[in-house]
Subunit: 583 residues, 2 copies
């Protein structure tokens, strides 16, 4: 080793010891006759001192030339610091250097290697290897490693077997778009990169593996929204001879364990709500329940009172914003503007201030008397000092809009505490959802999700009403996992493909192997997949996944550091028997 | 759960308990009034008994209908078996069934689900989910999971951070052929799937991660030899501020730990030999040292004695085959035919029997007297009763041919004991190898391997002589890992690309990001990558990797089960702006 100790370990206990350290020059302070270097590595920072009186001329001379991010090796003696730094472990000592070697000089980095940097997003991505030197980014990656290992050990201890499934599989253009890989040995044919190992894990259950897990990269060629990546990591799991309850208990156990082991946080049994209830109470299926502001439907209290705007709407729904009656007109106008933005798309917002003195003041005083407003307050649970915000419109849009407002207000009011963790299960998802555009049903979860057994008859005449034993695990307003009990019967699987608009030939060509497998003794099974990127980000107290990924891609799917994708040689295309179309 | 216990757990301790079991029907024995079912799951087999006198008519009736591989759930009572089976854990009990439910019937499988099956390779691959139900295959996968986890925990305990590197990277057609992935969002451009995360792990070292590991899929689009896969798994590792010795110690520690923990085998400190020595003593760079038969060069003892065939050769080399002097003429002829096969390509084989009475009998008695033959015996270490086999030819081919013969003989003589583990390090590989065909140097390990510092000057005028701090970890005649100290200096890296025939423009286009990174404070670093598929197979006592991979591809790169690769829709090609060439 080019060091005897790392930069994060020396304390007064090692006083007087001769040590060799290697690392990066974080900064230098040069007083001419004396010079200090903060030497950094993954483990910490150790202060090095060069001193005219105690270090040789040659060493002093070399030390004068050190610049930021130079890689150096120093030898010296552990001595006690005059002015101690209680904030770091090594803060009581420094190293009196008697030799220094420059292992590699460094150009001045394009941004500062500090916890808060002056580098913009693009620059940080282009020089990601420098960005990773910064504590917050490096710590996120170390944290991710720790979470992964904890997941693996937990699942292994619970008899799950880590099985690697293939990356070069078959294109099944249902669902998201596949990335495809042209085959040279089988010309004119393509592999696809997996959107998930779904069918393989089901085949492992057919194969009797009983309990499977894998932490695995998955790929989706979608137009990237912010904070989506074309490649992402999934904790993929499947179990045999289980019912929904068994899976919920198992993975509630996993998350409880992670919160305890990684964050030292104890959580109670996770609440469960149905999909329908989540939509009604929170306007979305991944509610953040760290705070209240639950929806109250006000149709009975707000319609038929002469306020024409509300009378014609399908749904009137309100929330009580705690301690916001004191909002100024300007603050409220800002909220109204916010919901009217095209991203939200609301037409307006009715407000009612519940004054501390028990009176009400609203934007619709013309139409509603104090008694009615009081009934709104009662319905929404608004107390004196709160602000009621009410929206009206068609059910789906209004819920979505009010949900966005609820989250925005929670953000503004500081109610989304990243150190608080509020997991819950959302259950009883519908099996199918109707897509207006293509006039057909889509699978709400995926085409392998089983209808609830007692509702199988409904599939024939009323498929939209059928619920599934499908569930999402939600943490702090983010879906961190989802799963279901799967179909294990070839006939039901065929029926399902039929409902989703596959011709029998298409179903056979794409999923024939699965339906055939179901005829050789397929056991009842179900599973779940958790998004590792998001899980780690939330456990790390952040919402953006990008800084928990070592080498993320930008919103155009580009890796700015290595400059990929890029053109390839014509010979490579020729070998694959491919041509680029001329534009 | 559809079971209260699994099929591998019940013993006399549970006598009298009411249990629910679920699993597959391994086999039935039907005596009409009494019927036994062996019920199987991942954990074992439990015998179920249905008995006219004790089970209801309905249950007896259902039981009569059970076929092989049916998935059933039974309820019953644990009773003591009359005729016990001491070979299985559950062999002292059986379950008297009072209810049975068929969860899924099964067609008769295309091959028997037994430890030794009647299914051929193709059929087993096509129905891999049935193949996985067989104990040996399933146990291999469980074993692999165990090895992976042990590797992860060992490396994590040694401060290695598990960092996921991207799968969609940049095509660098040096080395093996890349699989490429057309980009839809960046038309006309392609990602490549990584042949290894080499450059990324080096950038992580530049980024200060200090110690990195990842168990990661890698991809090579090569014409597949037997027992190669287009996608394979690597234990990929890198360390900073290290010298070769540190890496050898660290990973010798890993393998020692695995052998101890997984196999209960203690091994001594691994021997180390240089590449040159390995070639000289074993004729290859991954010697199996579980047995002797080391090479002895006989030029001085075999040339100039009138045997023209040898006189003109560059190298005469022999081995002593233990206890083989008794081989019949026919046995020896078979060996001669074996080395003359085109796969080996030798022109012949000279043999010398060291008779038990101290005399010699050889195929070249005409040219060599007893004294000379005795000198060969002394040189090869042959004792009375051994057989000396000698080959001559150009150095490289002769070594390769004799090495193949040595392995074949060891196989025949049962010297390759799969329960014995003989690891070693092969060190001091040459930096470059000359390729006659293209008249240029290729990197022996890869283009990022550093020349030995003391030999850097040789690069200019005598690059073929330069050695590298590059090393292979060899186990039982298989290379299970290889690594090197890397270049961390932009100028040396440029020089290396130049030697390998890159123009400066090509080097810049493909690896500019790496050479740029080296200018911002790149630390000395090095690493290793172990092939997990092979490591697991060898630890599992086998040489073929295919049955340690859940869903392997065949030699044409096809997945016979899902039938991939396959054609894709024209719309998919259109979106990617690609055309298939017309043939």
């Amino acid at each position: 080793m080019l060091r005897t100790v790392n930069c994060g370990s020396l304390t007064l206990k090692q006083l007087g010891e001769e040590v060799t350290l290697a690392g990066w020059v974080q900064k230098t302070r040069n007083k001419g006759f004396m010079l200090w270097v903060d030497l950094r590595d993954r483990y910490g920072i150790t202060q090095i001192i060069f001193d005219e009186e105690r270090s040789s001329k040659e060493v002093m001379h070399k030390a004068q030339k050190l610049g930021r991010e130079f890689v150096i090796q120093i030898q010296g003696k552990v001595i006690e610091r005059v002015s101690k730094n209680p904030n770091i472990l090594t803060g009581e000592i420094e190293i009196l250097a008697h030799s220094v070697e420059i292992l590699n000089p460094a150009k001045t980095p394009p941004f500062t290697i500090e916890n808060v940097t002056d580098g913009g997003e693009e620059l940080r991505m282009q020089y990601r290897y420098l960005d990773i030197r910064r504590n917050p980014v490096r710590e996120n990656l170390v944290f991710r490693s720790k979470v992964s290992l904890a997941v693996r050990n937990f699942l292994s201890a619970h008899d799950f077997i880590d099985v690697e499934t293939p990356y070069l599989i078959k294109s099944t253009p249902e669902g998201a778009r596949d990335f495809v890989v042209p085959s040279r040995m089988n010309q004119g044919q393509f592999y696809a990169l997996p959107q998930s190992p779904q069918t393989f894990k089901q085949l492992l259950m057919v194969g009797g593996m009983d309990k499977y897990f894998q932490i695995v990269k998955c790929f989706r060629d979608e137009d990237l929204r912010a904070d989506r990546q074309p490649e992402f990591t999934q904790i993929d799991c499947e179990m045999t001879f289980v019912e929904q309850e068994d899976i919920l208990i198992q993975f509630e156990g996993l998350l409880t364990h992670l919160l305890q082991e990684i964050k030292g946080v104890k959580v109670d049994k996770f609440p469960r709500i149905t999909y329908a209830e989540a939509m009604k109470k929170y306007g979305n299926d991944k509610p953040d329940i760290r705070f209240g502001m639950e929806f109250s439907e006000l149709n009975a209290l707000a319609k038929g009172k002469g306020f024409n705007v509300f009378d014609q709407q399908e749904l009137i729904v309100g929330i009580a914003v705690p301690q916001a009656a004191s909002y100024t007109r300007k603050q409220i106008d800002t909220l109204i503007d916010w919901v009217k933005r095209p991203q939200i798309g609301a037409t307006g917002l009715v407000w009612v201030k519940c004054n501390p003195d028990g009176s009400y003041k609203s934007s619709v005083d013309k139409f509603y008397d104090e008694k009615t407003l009081a009934s709104w307050a009662e319905a929404t649970g608004a107390k004196a000092g709160d602000l009621i915000l009410v929206m009206g419109g068609d059910t789906h849009s209004t819920r979505t809009q009010l949900s966005a407002l609820r989250m925005e207000l929670a953000e503004q009011l500081g109610l989304r505490n990243p150190n608080e963790f509020a997991p819950l299960w959302v259950v009883d998802f519908p099996l199918l959802e109707w897509e207006e555009e293509s006039k057909r049903y889509l699978a709400m979860h995926h085409p392998f999700t089983a209808p609830k057994p007692e509702q199988i008859q409904l599939l024939e005449n009323n498929p939209g009403e059928v619920a599934a034993n499908a569930y999402d695990l939600v943490l702090n307003g983010n879906e961190i996992g989802g799963g279901s009990i799967r179909i294990h019967d070839a006939e039901i699987q065929k029926k399902m493909f039929d409902l989703l608009g596959f011709t029998p030939e298409e179903a056979q060509a794409q999923f024939g192997f699965l339906m055939e497998a179901f005829q050789y003794g397929a056991p009842p099974h179900g599973g779940i997949a958790l998004g590792l990127d998001r899980l780690v980000a939330i456990l790390g107290g952040q919402e953006s996944i990008r800084d928990f990924i070592a080498f993320p891609k930008n919103n155009s799917g580009r890796d700015l550091m290595i400059d990929a994708p890029s053109k390839i040689d014509q010979t490579q295309l020729d070998e694959l028997n491919l041509n680029l179309k001329q534009n």
